[in-house]
Point group: C2
Chain length 199, copies 2
């Protein structure tokens, strides 16, 4: 017996999602088959609205319901700081900390020539354009601590050196709750380089 | 900043799926935001069709596009055997082995009084009804080897003892590729009880 065609089709589409393999997709599809139609309708509606209602902010390229996102419009935020991140998910992660109150700029990726991500694929020109207004005093680079993130940070530091802005990079070091004994040497090394004087 | 409402809604709905937590749901939603609208449309369409086109076979309660499933209609299958399984996913798993050519009966669960699954919630009456035709000669119990599956098997064996059918249970023992040294003692014990004479 082949799996009934509509089920097969749903499994195929679900398994295209990241981190969903064929077995998980099959479990999800069979679960949806068994649940109330109302629940599946809610899911379907939320996916349709996700694509219809959400766009990218024309200023910072964060996700937004309107042309400009809530953060870019807010007068309560520190409009002299821009935090540069790779992805909209990084904005969510940083917002959850309640430690940052400035603006954002979502690059939409990091430089990765092997995968064809070059300078022009990222929103770097748009970042430069925002600096021309003169309102921005500090750029905080918050890219992921890996080789592509580092390469992109170095590229941005070089490109921004003629602008009258302070440039900083978020700290690397031991994660809170981490264990020195089990940390990798690159992390411990960075924690030494970035040590903060306390007295 | 709160997460934009349509995104929040999609994350909520996705995280209702089994084995999808909040973080995975967020990753999936952000992935869908970035992919082409065509791909999301395909996914949405497949989910709608899954619910619209698939129903449960009126004979064996396996998933089916028509009122009676392909297996129940087929004249190439051995119509004297019924394999009793918990779920439609078990039918798919057994069909993949190509070792079984009889019919199926999907119970829709196993007895689990703590979760409110009693005899009436399962398709046990319907199984008895199928036996009344006299066409069936063997019932093969292929429920999962755990306490609920075992309890359900015992219940079925008792309920079926007045019917003139052979009842068997699929073997328990060491899984192919498994290692005796690392198998749990219940499995090794079962493998001894179920030993097969070879000479």
């Amino acid at each position: 017996m082949l799996i009934a065609e509509p089920l097969q089709k749903a499994i195929e589409e679900l398994s295209k999602l990241p981190s969903i393999g064929n077995k998980t997709a099959q479990r999800l599809a069979l679960h949806l088959l068994k649940t109330d139609k109302d629940n599946v309708d809610l899911l379907v509606k939320s996916l349709i609205e996700l694509k219809e209602k959400i766009r990218f902010c024309s200023v910072c390229f964060n996700i937004s319901v309107e042309d400009t996102c809530d953060i870019c419009k807010s007068q309560k935020r520190n409009r002299a700081q821009i935090c540069v991140v790779e992805d909209a998910s990084d904005v969510i992660a940083i917002e959850k900390t309640n430690e940052y109150n400035g603006l954002y700029h979502v690059l939409g990726g990091v430089l990765n020539p092997l995968e064809g991500v070059m300078v022009d694929s990222l929103k770097i020109k748009e970042l430069m354009a925002r600096l021309n207004s003169g309102e921005i005093k500090e750029i905080i680079l918050a890219l992921n601590p890996n080789s592509e993130g580092d390469a992109t940070s170095v590229y941005l530091i070089n490109s921004l050196k003629d602008y009258p802005v302070k440039i900083s990079r978020i700290a690397r070091g031991l994660p809170i709750g981490g264990d020195l004994e089990f940390a990798d040497s690159a992390t411990i090394g960075r924690a030494f380089i970035g040590r903060i004087s306390v007295q």
